[in-house]
């Protein structure tokens, strides 16, 4: 028995009826079409009485398919489907024929509009005939979150989620959390000390009952989908047992390798081979740098287990923990698996290191040409010079410092066209910090534009110019070269149209914020999109700014694009709130417009032949391989299966499948065929 279909033609006031003879459309819908059991027209179908009419007629006439010929489905498809649900009819038996936006409003000639409307209604009627009941997909939710990256973005997001009552796993690849913010000296526009506001948050995180912290660890793989991710975490061998170690410092005080460039101090200071990155590190327990430790070097050279090397055992000898020492040379990487329901990516940025890119600025060969972060370390009270501004080459206090903005930003010739957003402000801050410490010094700033849009930002940069006396020159620097112990900076002042030559003692490059080196690889692990500069892409640039392209994977902080601390914290909070909303439900409901690979009785099992073109084209990694097995366990064939949790319903797989073994629910083969087939051709 065929379906009993009802056709409801809406006048939309006169929006439709002015240029479409709605009565004729209703009449024609019934003509020569035994499947159409009921037709009517109504002034406003979307009004309460209109919806009531729809509900009543479904019940009275026993309709099991409905076509509403009205405005665009984008307007009221949801409304009419919901109305149908109240009568017990599955909502996916309701289809909308778009008579307003795509007919009455664009074809003022009434006979023409009417004729087209008749066709449009027939197409939808035929599609409805093939509609199948679909039930929303329910996905259970694991009520834990993963935060990747322990900088300010990750810390903020983790604390917000943990305070909301859910467990959080935090993974940080360095030995301590803190990220770049821990490296900063003071922060704009208030000049409060970065560590003073950062450290309490780090401690709070470490002590939070709901947060489990993995430092010196990296994400190995992420499987699963919204609400149900399996995360493999590689705990890199730290060579120190975190449970036993008390962080007493005995070990690193005796370490003989003292000349290793400190990453935290941007290479301006030194550290030992067993070390904590900085005094306020969390956890405040060391790690052995196996690349540089002489014991591990020796073991590698002789190809023996590190424990057998006798070259140096000073740290383990100094360790006061007994009977088992907290230092363990034989520790190996360990993989742990955690289940989470949502993921926040807060992997941050990398500062441009200009060794090769800027040959005209020495390409890294001048010690006194430093980057912005290096200047932060110089100016920091906990830095290698304890906050004294001394230039790296000879420790002299620089009398003239040139700051160059937009190094690696807004420079399409070097392949980086974007603005790093923070440099105008931090350069203004640098000139102030410099002037506060070197009163007679002179700061020159070369800039393209001064972009200080933010609360109290403009005032801040004006202060640098007017009160602190920094000389701002609008123009680019073409070359830096060494002359005696000075650095000659050749630049242009485009406002006066003259060439400027400054003999400086030190040059600070306002280096760009770049995506992490491994951002691309990382994004592929998580199946999230990234832009040409390898920053992770948000789902929608305006309306979904913290969502990634994959469901339940959120973005926070500079991994998504350059931003300053307040913006980062705000975004982290937003991402956390999205996670909290997601974790508040026990189950998620999703629209059932997903693909499905057919399954048939033996001996065919499925018409899928397992060529896996569908898997290759799927943008979401939603196609899995399934072995169809005989009773004895032997594999009969391997076919494709769609993971409903991951599928977003684009239909790429269905169009790629040559045998049409995959179909998209709601747009299945028969539905599309019916639509094409029902167009009246003369």
């Amino acid at each position: 028995m065929g379906k009993k279909i009802g056709v409801f033609v809406c006048h939309c006031g006169t929006n439709i009826s002015a240029t479409v003879d709605v009565e004729k459309v209703a009449e024609e819908a019934k003509k020569n079409n035994p499947g159409v059991a009921y037709t009517t027209t109504y002034k406003y179908m979307c009004s309460d009485p209109g919806q009531k009419l729809l509900r009543d007629k479904i019940k009275e006439e026993g309709l099991d398919g409905v076509v509403v010929a009205a405005c665009s489905p984008k307007m009221h498809e949801h409304t009419f489907r919901n109305a149908a649900v109240k009568t017990g009819l599955n909502p996916y038996h309701v289809e909308i024929s778009n008579l307003r936006e795509q007919c009455s409003w664009v074809h003022p000639d009434k006979p023409t509009g009417t004729e087209k409307s008749i066709d449009l209604v027939r197409m939808m009627t035929e599609k409805t005939r093939k509609d199948r009941s679909l039930t929303p997909i329910k996905v259970p939710v694991t009520k834990r979150a993963l935060v990747i990256g322990g900088g300010i973005a990750g810390i903020q997001a983790a604390l917000d989620i943990a305070d909301g009552g859910h467990e959080v796993i935090m993974v940080e690849r360095e030995a301590s959390i803190g990220g770049h913010m821990a490296q900063l000296s003071e922060t704009f526009p208030t000049l409060d000390c970065s560590q003073c506001i950062m450290t309490p948050k780090m401690v709070e995180l470490a002590q939070h009952d709901n947060i489990k912290l993995y430092t010196w660890s990296e994400i190995e793989a992420v499987d699963g989908y919204i609400g149900n991710f399996d995360v493999k975490i590689r705990k890199k061998a730290r060579s120190v047992d975190l449970d036993l170690c008390t962080g007493c410092s005995s070990c690193w005080q005796v370490c003989p390798c003292k000349k290793i460039k400190s990453e935290f101090d941007m290479g301006l200071g030194n550290r030992t081979a067993i070390y904590i990155p900085f005094p306020q590190a969390i956890p405040s327990k060391p790690v052995i740098d196996r690349e540089n430790c002489i014991l591990f070097k020796d073991a590698r050279k002789k190809n023996i287990p590190p424990n057998d090397s006798k070259v140096c055992r000073k740290c383990i000898d100094a360790c006061p923990i007994a009977p088992v020492k907290a230092i363990d040379y034989s520790q190996e990487d360990e993989i742990v698996t955690e289940k989470v329901g949502a993921i926040i990516v807060a992997t941050g940025f990398k500062e441009l290191d200009d060794t090769s890119m800027y040959g005209e600025y020495g390409g890294g060969k001048y010690k006194d040409v430093i980057t912005g972060l290096q200047f932060e370390r110089l100016a920091s009270a906990s830095g290698p010079t304890e906050g004294k501004i001394e230039r790296p080459s000879d420790g002299k206090e620089p009398e003239i410092v040139v700051f160059i903005q937009c190094v690696g930003s807004r420079d399409p010739a070097k392949g980086c066209s974007y603005c790093s957003k923070t440099c105008c402000m931090y350069t203004a801050k640098h000139t102030m910090l410099y002037k506060h410490k070197v009163h007679d010094g002179h700061a020159f700033v070369f800039y393209i534009d001064i972009r200080c849009a933010g609360k109290d930002y403009e005032e801040f940069s004006q202060r640098a110019i007017e009160e602190e006396g920094a000389t701002y020159l609008r123009g680019r620097v073409s070359r830096i070269y060494k002359k005696g112990d000075k650095l000659v900076v050749l630049g242009a002042d485009t406002l006066t149209g003259s060439v400027v030559e400054i003999e400086a003692d030190m040059v600070v490059l306002a280096s760009a914020m770049k995506a992490q080196d491994d951002a691309e690889k990382f994004a592929q692990k998580l199946s999230i999109q990234y832009n040409k500069d390898k920053f992770f892409s948000e789902m929608h640039p305006k309306l979904k700014p913290v969502e990634s392209s994959s469901a339940a994977i959120l973005l926070a902080g500079t991994c998504q694009g350059p931003k300053d601390i307040p913006e980062t914290v705000a975004q982290a909070g937003a991402a956390a709130s999205k996670v909290l909303a997601l974790l508040s439900a026990d189950e998620l409901e999703r629209e059932p417009v997903v693909a499905k690979v057919d399954r048939l009785p033996p001996p065919v099992f499925s018409t899928c032949i397992g060529c896996f073109y569908c898997q290759r084209v799927c943008p979401y990694g939603a196609i899995e391989e399934e072995d169809i097995k005989a009773r004895d366990g032997s594999v009969i064939k391997t076919v494709a299966r769609v993971n409903e949790g991951l599928c977003q319903g684009c239909g790429l797989c269905a169009a790629t499948c040559r045998s049409k073994s995959v179909e998209l629910a709601g747009f299945n083969d028969e539905q599309v065929y019916a639509e094409i087939n029902s167009v009246e051709f003369n």
Binding site: H107, A655, T656, I676
Partner: protein, 158 residues
């Protein structure tokens, strides 16, 4: 439509997110265009199988338009890129078989380009009108035993 004047029938396969919304926008803006088009909405141009187009011609369409999101704008990230690959081989194949490429056209129209939708669809209708009815294909329908669409779907339920 008058008996004497040829009015082409165009089937347009549109993606839900960009071009379908663009066509809606043309409506909201009351931008008039020729009424020869019948729209079939799919989630993504990546979900359009060339079989759909063959079927449309077989049923008697004089022209076809396939339209979706601009490169880089696909709601499903890469659907339109895969579709573009498909049309890169399918279009020359039809051309090689003697089907005028004007009868099968492709475009990128975003949800904001109501005007472009109007221009494009008018362009397709005019081009196909100039070519005349697709008699070659339509003649095939009448040759040999007639198998109507209804009979071909005899496998339906009920």
């Amino acid at each position: 439509m008058s008996e004497t004047k040829f009015e082409p029938k165009i089937i347009a396969f549109l993606c839900n997110w960009c071009t379908y919304a663009g066509a809606d926008l043309a409506g909201t803006g009351r931008k008039e265009y020729q009424a020869n088009v019948r729209i079939i909405k799919l989630p993504c141009t990546g979900g359009i199988d060339p079989l759909f187009l063959i079927k449309a011609f077989e049923r008697g369409a004089d022209g076809i338009l396939v339209s979706g999101c601009h490169p880089g704008d696909c709601h499903y990230n890469s659907g339109n890129y895969h579709a573009r690959r498909r049309w890169n081989v399918f279009r020359p194949l039809l051309e090689f078989c003697g089907i005028n490429p004007e009868r099968i056209q492709f475009s990128w129209i975003s949800a904001a380009e109501g005007g472009k939708w109007v221009e494009t669809i008018n362009g397709v209708v005019d081009a196909v009108r100039a070519l005349g009815p697709f008699e070659g294909y339509q003649k095939l329908n009448t040759m040999g035993p007639d198998i109507s669409g209804e009979a071909a779907t005899s496998g339906e339920t009920g």
